[in-house]
């Protein structure tokens, strides 16, 4: 047996991992930000004078102070001001119209728009000294009323930007529903759902270390998109990109929260360059809970219509999405929900409309699932409600409507083209794995027994999108064979716990037919791999995996050509097998070939098609109506992510993802005070992440329907639990309580919410 299951393991298990905060750079200053305690207000004054007197403080600046800083030669152009935080230009996620006039300053200039927004930055010889300094910064903010939900903010009675609406964007997918269809339907489920704001909460908060050297800058950051970070930093500094190098060392989780350039990064990079000294920002948890990105945040309304046999006729989804205080990526992100509104069903008419609305909260950003959980939760909760209304078994209702395998590629009314699938097979596997019939019997038994706690079964079928949107479905990288017999695989992706270092070399080794131990991965360093897109949207295996397979094929082609030249035979007579070229009796392995013919390296760009992973999750939950508590007794997650590169790694991600899904359904969320400030003074004691005690027996199974979008056939993995699990759990609770209005169960299902729902009007009794 190999000593370590993954290549990452040895260093991570012996304390020799290297996360950004572990990197020692002599003379490095620590940055601490002075943050607003109010959600919305007018900044009247900031005074950093006293902070500068504190021993060990190297400097302290407000936005106004930074403007006074003299421009220094060769550094940061002649900028007299910090540029605003760049928007996400990729695939129209933050369109120019939405951003115009609503720029996100790095430090507050005149108006605070979210709690925790930074009003000053202090640099100290270490974190203790920087915090001493920060404590001496004084500032005054005149509070304004705050709006914290998109529905409230959409009224524009409080505006974040004077003279501009809070509605930053409106969009839609699908044609308007024909009202006659709704009127003629046997049943129309109408409901409202709130998808609460969630915090991605990787165990390592954000990190950013900027080390200037001569006219260059090296940045170390836990990050999902190092090339984007380099490009944006270089643009802000008005430098050519090759003067900036971004390195991503070990990264302690990301889940979507580490792919942007944040205000703090801009401040740190500029100060490092201006002062000519290394500066780092190691975000702490309290700070993170105030100002790290949030995910989800939608107020939804649905209408789902079916005929008496349970055939879906029409589905309408209306979304007010929370953008946060500045229009960033979250402006366009809810389109993901709109495009995926059709779900896995053959519904002929589907329409989704959305408004992206500014609120006085930190910006919304992708969090594991990113727009797809919102689509799945709304549809699947409505499906269960529909089944109850029709007196149909929820599994049977779904079966009648799932897109059949022969219909792929399937064009949805909301503009997606699903690549491949066997949705019913996933549902069937979930039901048998769960022992659906056994639990139905148990549910019936408990319903007949007034002393028994009610039990419910919840289902969720989902289809999601992985890889990214057109224009972002490619990856850069390549393979290189070296004289010493080793092979270097290069990829523009970046790992934050997904085992790339193990999985990609294994894939390349398999593809080339060489010994795995000879292959190593170069990733997460723009100095080693100059171009890249990154790791988000479950794209690494699907897109970068396919890119590596493609690069291997190119390498093999070149090797055969070279061998043909050496041996003076036609290329057609040179075969490739087990990492060597063969022609008749002649055999030569890669290392020898490179020795004789010179370096052999392939670099390329490869584009994949969009892929649509899918699956079915099922949960059994027991509810105590007196205490309002929910106990999940069993969870089954069946996922199909096409070709699987490493089943154990994929299973691990599916499991962890399901636990995050449990968190979303039952525990994670936060309330706001009257003043719009989140009630999170107890930090992780107020924002409840699932611990081991909350993990029920979970069974992860898979079906494998390859994607036709690449020769490799892999679809994205790892987000499924956040997509399928929350709806399954909420449905189980709704089933246990038999409530008539599904919208009453707002997530997270706190004891109070469940207790109240338990007292709400019930569904009429029906044999199910």
């Amino acid at each position: 047996m190999r000593r370590w299951a993954r290549r990452e393991d040895e260093r991570l298990l012996t304390g020799r991992g290297r996360y950004v905060a572990d990197i020692r750079v002599p003379g490095c200053l620590d940055a601490v930000f002075v943050r607003s305690g109010v959600a919305h207000g007018v900044l009247r004054e900031v005074d950093c004078t006293a902070a500068r007197e504190v021993p060990g403080v190297a400097g302290a600046w407000s936005a106004a102070d930074l403007m006074d800083l003299p421009a220094c030669p060769h550094a940061a152009g002649d900028l007299q001001d910090l540029p605003p935080v760049p928007r996400t230009v990729a695939v129209g996620l933050s369109p120019e119209e939405a951003v115009a006039g609503r720029e996100w300053p790095v430090l507050v200039k005149d108006r605070v728009r979210y709690p925790g927004e930074a009003v000053a930055v202090v640099l100290g010889e270490d974190r203790y000294r920087a915090e001493d300094g920060a404590a001496e910064v004084t500032f005054r903010i005149d509070p304004l009323p705050a709006v914290v939900t998109p529905s409230a903010a959409a009224e524009d009675s409080v505006r974040l930007f004077d003279g501009l609406s809070n509605i930053a964007f409106e969009g839609s997918a699908g044609r308007p529903i024909d009202e006659a269809v709704l009127q003629g339907a046997a049943v129309v489920v109408e409901a409202r759902y709130r998808q609460q704001l969630l915090m991605p909460t990787p165990m390592e908060c954000r990190t950013f270390l900027a080390v200037p050297e001569a006219d260059r800058l090296t940045v170390w950051a836990g990050h999902q998109m190092p090339h984007r970070l380099r490009r944006e930093l270089a643009a802000l500094l008005e430098w050519p990109p090759d003067r900036v190098r971004v390195v991503v060392p070990d990264t302690g989780g990301a889940f979507g929260s580490k792919s942007a350039l944040f205000p703090e990064y801009v401040a740190v990079a500029f100060l490092a360059v201006r002062l000519g000294r290394p500066v780092r920002w190691i975000e702490d948890r309290l700070e993170s809970m105030l100002v790290a990105t949030r995910g989800r945040g939608q107020d939804q309304r649905v209408r789902l219509a079916a005929d008496a046999e349970g055939r879906l006729l029409a589905y309408e989804l209306t979304i007010d999405a929370d953008v946060g205080a500045y229009p960033h990526l979250a402006v366009g992100l809810p389109m993901q929900t709109a495009w995926m509104a059709t779900g896995p069903y053959t519904t002929p008419q589907v329409r989704a409309t959305l408004r992206s609305v500014l609120t006085n909260t930190m910006v919304t950003y992708p969090y594991r699932g990113a727009g797809r959980p919102e689509a799945t939760v709304a549809l699947e909760r409505s499906m269960d409600a529909l089944a109850h209304r029709l007196g149909l078994d929820p599994a049977e209702l779904r079966r009648r409507n799932l897109i059949p395998p022969a219909s792929f590629p399937y064009r949805t009314p909301t503009g997606r083209c699903y690549d491949s699938g066997n949705y019913a097979a996933a549902l069937d596997l979930a039901l048998t794995t769960l022992d659906y019939d056994g639990w139905r019997a148990e549910r019936a038994r408990r319903r007949a027994d007034p002393a028994a706690l009610p039990l419910g079964i919840g289902l969720a079928c989902y289809v999601e999108r992985s890889g990214g949107e057109p224009g972002g479905l490619h990856e850069f990288g390549g393979v290189e064979a070296r004289e010493d017999g080793t092979v270097v695989a290069r990829s523009g992706t970046s790992s934050s716990g997904q085992s790339h270092e193990t999985v990609f070399p294994a894939l390349v080794a398999r593809t080339l037919g060489v010994d795995e131990a000879r292959v190593r991965l170069a990733e997460g360093d723009t100095g080693e791999q100059p171009q890249g897109v990154g790791s988000f949207a479950s794209r690494s295996a699907q897109v970068a995996g396919a890119m590596l397979v493609h690069a291997c094929a190119l390498l093999v082609g070149r090797a055969r050509e070279r061998a043909a030249g050496l041996w003076e035979v036609p290329v057609g007579e040179v075969a490739w097998c087990d990492g060597a070229v063969h022609a008749g009796p002649a055999v030569m392995d890669l290392a020898e070939l490179v020795k004789l013919t010179g370096p052999l390296r392939v670099d390329d760009r490869f584009a994949a098609g969009m892929a649509f992973p899918f699956g079915a999750h099922a949960a059994v939950a027991e509810v105590d109506p007196e205490l309002g508590t929910v106990r999940v007794l069993r969870l089954v997650a069946v996922d199909d992510c096409g070709t699987v590169l490493d089943p154990v790694v994929v299973r691990g991600q599916a499991f962890g993802s399901a636990v995050q899904g449990i968190g979303q359904a039952l525990y994670e969320g936060f309330a706001f005070g009257e003043d719009g400030v989140p009630l999170l003074a107890g930090a992780l004691l107020d924002y409840l992440l699932p611990t081991d005690a909350e993990v029920p027996p979970i069974e992860i199974r898979d079906t494998r329907t390859p994607s036709p979008g690449t020769p490799l056939g892999a679809k994205g993995a790892g987000e499924s639990g956040c997509i399928g699990t929350p709806a399954a759990i909420v449905n189980a609770v709704a089933d246990a309580l038999r409530i008539a209005d599904p919208g009453l169960l707002g997530t997270p299902l706190t004891p109070e919410t469940v207790w109240r729902a338990a007292r709400a009007p019930k569904l009429p009794e029906r044999p199910v």
Binding site: D9, T14, P202, M203, G252, S499, V648, G656, A683
Partner: protein, 160 residues
């Protein structure tokens, strides 16, 4: 303030400000960055180390409180010959880590418990208590439970 601490069987004479937490002193003054900070308020457990054999949150303890004491961190887990600790082997075998950020804390909490009483591994409730002593955002804990049980099975038994 001058203190003397044995860390992983090596003596460190340090001059530390009384307000510095143990985790910072281990990471910065001793250069032992295997101990991670995930919350700095005692909840996540990433910073767990052994002080005189007992698991403590090193973000909640001042370094000066350890004067004269013995601290063990994840860097001191492997044997002198570099042979991996049963927990290290088991965590890898069971895929009980993904990003690895929480891992040192779980390793040290489990090491403290198993070293005090290897029978912990036979009791699912005590294993669950160890897996429940910290926060892991990646694995969903089940692999951590399995790893602790597996390490206990492979625990060197005193010769009888």
């Amino acid at each position: 303030m001058r203190i003397t601490v044995r860390v992983n069987d090596r003596e460190y004479r340090l001059d530390v400000e009384p307000r510095r937490i143990l985790a910072d002193v281990l990471r910065e003054d001793c250069g032992l960055t295997g101990t991670h900070l995930g919350c700095e308020h005692g909840v996540c457990g990433a910073c767990t180390v052994l002080v005189d054999g007992a698991a403590v949150r090193s973000c909640l303890m001042l370094a000066v409180q350890c004067d004269g004491g013995a601290v063990r961190t994840v860097e001191g887990l492997a044997g002198r010959d570099g042979e991996p600790h049963p927990l290290q082997r088991a965590f890898s075998a069971e895929h009980a880590l993904q990003c690895g950020f929480c891992t040192p804390g779980f390793l040290m909490a489990a090491a403290g418990a198993l070293e005090a009483d290897p029978a912990v591994g036979e009791d699912p409730e005590r294993v669950a208590a160890l897996a429940g002593s910290g926060i892991c955002r990646c694995t969903g804990y089940e692999p951590i439970r399995r790893a602790i049980t597996r390490a206990a099975r492979e625990w060197p038994r005193p010769a009888t």
